[in-house]
């Protein structure tokens, strides 16, 4: 509260605007100090887990920041600094495992990832032997994902067209709701569904196609959602202009609406492909796995990249050769998916100005 008299001259009285503040470098110094202390305590106390070092450092950082700020700047500023610190710590805490995940996959995967690895199957090699490759799994993944895309994209596209261009009333509402719900179906449940109806009831065998059907179920809602968003971006004047020329509605959709939003739709489809390419659970139930090359997705068990990773890990009883192969396959899979993502985003960026006009 200022009790200063209201004079015209600048008062020398203590300012109400200035507050005692920690210097700008304070957070960095505290952070560096906490990390040092965390490592020190970790070393001295013989704590072998780096996770604990990190936790000690972050708790120290939060405490010191709060106490210093409370002392120098007051309670409100201390709370504000505390919140800022917590948010930063949350961010760093999350970054660490994610960086580690990428780092481990690259570092360990690069060991056996070479031309031979990409062009050979496991053949009759035992899981514990050195050598072998993922050729059969790559073929399996490409075929299964391709088939799933062939099934899911037309259905997804048409459903989105229905919802945006025709949909109103109860049916559209129900479809919208269930598309949302379908996005959340666990992949293993989709696998169980195809298992129950295709394998147990119709008596068909394991095959790439069976897996592809489950993948298609997982892919459809994603395609519907992204296509819907894109179609909604097409300005109504375009549709009206075409209809006003006497073009029938279905040709308007095919010749005007879809081409306008093609870039966005392609992006959405590729992101959906990227998502199902890494699915393991339904493939495990329906494609079964196969160390040999089987190029026919409609007959007999196949391999697939994610399934290969799982089986190298789970069936090899800790053999280092198998673990190396698992990491290399994981790296291949991540590269594949990131490429799809990057290309998809590239298309989105490249096409964006055109749809905006």
């Amino acid at each position: 509260m200022s009790h200063a008299l209201n004079t015209q001259t600048p008062p020398p009285a203590p300012s109400t605007l200035r507050g005692a503040r920690l210097p700008k470098w304070a957070p960095y110094v505290i952070a560096a100090g906490s990390v040092a202390a965390g490592c020190g305590i970790g070393l001295a106390g013989g704590l072998d887990s780096r996770i604990q070092w990190g936790l000690i450092a972050s708790i120290l950082f939060l405490l010191v920041t709060y106490l210093l700020a409370a002392k120098v700047e007051g309670g409100r500023q201390a709370k504000d600094r505390m919140a800022t610190s917590v948010v930063w710590v949350a961010f760093l805490l999350a970054v660490i495992p994610l960086v580690s995940l990428i780092w481990e996959t690259v570092a360990r995967g690069i060991k056996v990832l070479d031309g031979y690895f990409l062009t050979h199957s496991m053949g009759v090699l035992a899981d514990t032997d050195v050598g072998g490759g993922i050729y059969h799994a790559l073929i399996g993944t490409l075929e299964q994902v391709g088939l799933a895309t062939l099934m899911a994209v037309p259905v997804g596209l048409l459903t989105a067209i229905y919802l945006v261009e025709y949909g109103r009333g109860k049916l559209a509402k129900a479809v919208t709701f269930f598309v949302d719900v379908m996005t959340g179906i666990p992949s293993i449940v989709a696998g169980l569904f195809i298992l129950s109806f295709w394998i147990l009831i119709l008596g068909q065998g394991y095959s790439g196609f069976a897996g592809a059907m489950a993948l298609a179920i997982l892919m459809m809602p994603v395609v519907v959602r992204s296509t819907e968003e894109m179609l909604k971006l097409v300005p109504n004047e375009l549709r009206e202009a075409s209809l006003a020329l006497g073009v029938p509605k279905w040709r308007t959709i095919l010749k005007v609406v879809l081409p306008t939003s093609l870039g966005g739709i392609t992006t959405g489809v590729m992101l959906a492909v990227a998502r199902i390419a890494g699915e393991t659970a339904p493939v495990l139930l329906l494609v079964w796995g196969n160390p040999l090359i089987n190029t026919n997705p409609f007959d007999g068990p196949q391999a697939s990249l994610p399934l290969y990773i799982y089986q190298q890990y789970a069936n090899s009883a800790g053999s280092p050769a198998a673990y190396d192969r698992a990491w290399a396959a994981a790296l291949t899979l991540i590269i594949l998916i990131m490429l799809l993502n990057l290309v998809a985003r590239g298309i989105a960026r490249w096409k964006a100005p055109k749809t905006g006009r």
Binding site: N6, Q8, T9, P10, P11, S15, T16, L17, R18, G19, R21, G75, R76
Partner: protein, 258 residues
């Protein structure tokens, strides 16, 4: 309570775009100063530099001095949080916190500081609501959400919220532009009462309003679209509206452009 503002050579940017250039003026305590001028001339931007709200917008940056009774708001040791506490602001659209009751809205600023007593709080809320000419309309429903009030009432609630922390200066950014004529009249009457206690700066689109409520008027203009806005002149309101010293001001006031 009221303090005087001296602005010297103030220039404000949005990123690389210069929004206002080289503005100097003095705002007298216990008076109402109105800012008028065509859209985009930077009068709202200038207003927001007076309580350091401009730097909140992405890319917002300010050069120059704003002295509050001689103390520079942009000095490096100054905490913008304290500045905004000392200089209250009322916005174009009424913006009571939607999740808070009427009482909590008025008390929001006080509660931030923490050191208050329950009984004091109730007194301050009543005093502020009376100060904003809203008490009689809401005294029976202080625990209802503020968003249930009419637009004019909401704006007066926002004024009550701003004066509850006893600021030195009250900035108003087109406070009536979203309101109907009757609510506008109520706010204008209120401004007349508030100037007994506060230094008031009001941005308005409405020249009649400037003429009705203000003691002094500042006219802002820009040379062309894309150019920075400048202060053309500031003078007693009567003089600005009867006999301005700059031709552009007369053209604007007589409706020849803008």
């Amino acid at each position: 309570m009221a303090k005087r503002i001296d602005v010297g050579g103030l220039t404000a940017y949005y990123g690389s775009h210069k929004a206002i250039e080289d503005i100097s003026m003095t705002v007298e305590p216990r008076s109402v100063t109105a800012f008028i001028g065509p859209s985009g001339c930077g009068k709202s931007t200038f207003l927001r530099t007076l309580n350091r709200m401009h730097e909140v917008t992405p890319g917002g940056r300010v050069e120059g001095k704003v002295l509050l009774d001689g103390e520079d708001l942009y000095a490096s040791a100054v905490d913008p949080v304290n500045v905004r506490r000392t200089i209250g602001m009322v916005f174009q659209r009424p913006n009571p916190f939607p999740t808070m009751s009427i009482f909590d809205n008025v008390a929001a600023g006080l509660k931030l500081n923490g050191n208050y007593k329950k009984s004091e709080l109730a007194d301050v809320v009543e005093k502020s609501l009376r100060g904003a000419n809203l008490w009689n309309e809401v005294k029976d429903r202080l625990n209802k959400p503020g968003s249930g009030l009419s637009g004019g009432q909401q704006q007066r609630l926002c004024i009550a919220r701003a004066i509850a922390v006893e600021p030195q200066v009250l900035l108003m950014d087109e406070p009536c532009s979203a309101l109907d004529p009757i609510s506008t009249l109520a706010i204008e009457d209120l401004i007349g009462e508030l100037k007994e206690r506060f230094t008031i700066v009001i941005v308005t689109h409405n020249m009649q309003q400037a003429a009705r409520v203000s003691d002094r008027t500042a006219f802002f203009n820009l040379a062309a679209v894309g150019q920075p806005g400048r202060l053309i002149e500031i003078d007693d309101t009567e003089r600005i509206f009867s006999n301005p010293s700059v031709q552009a001001t007369e053209d604007y006031i007589s409706g020849r452009f803008g």
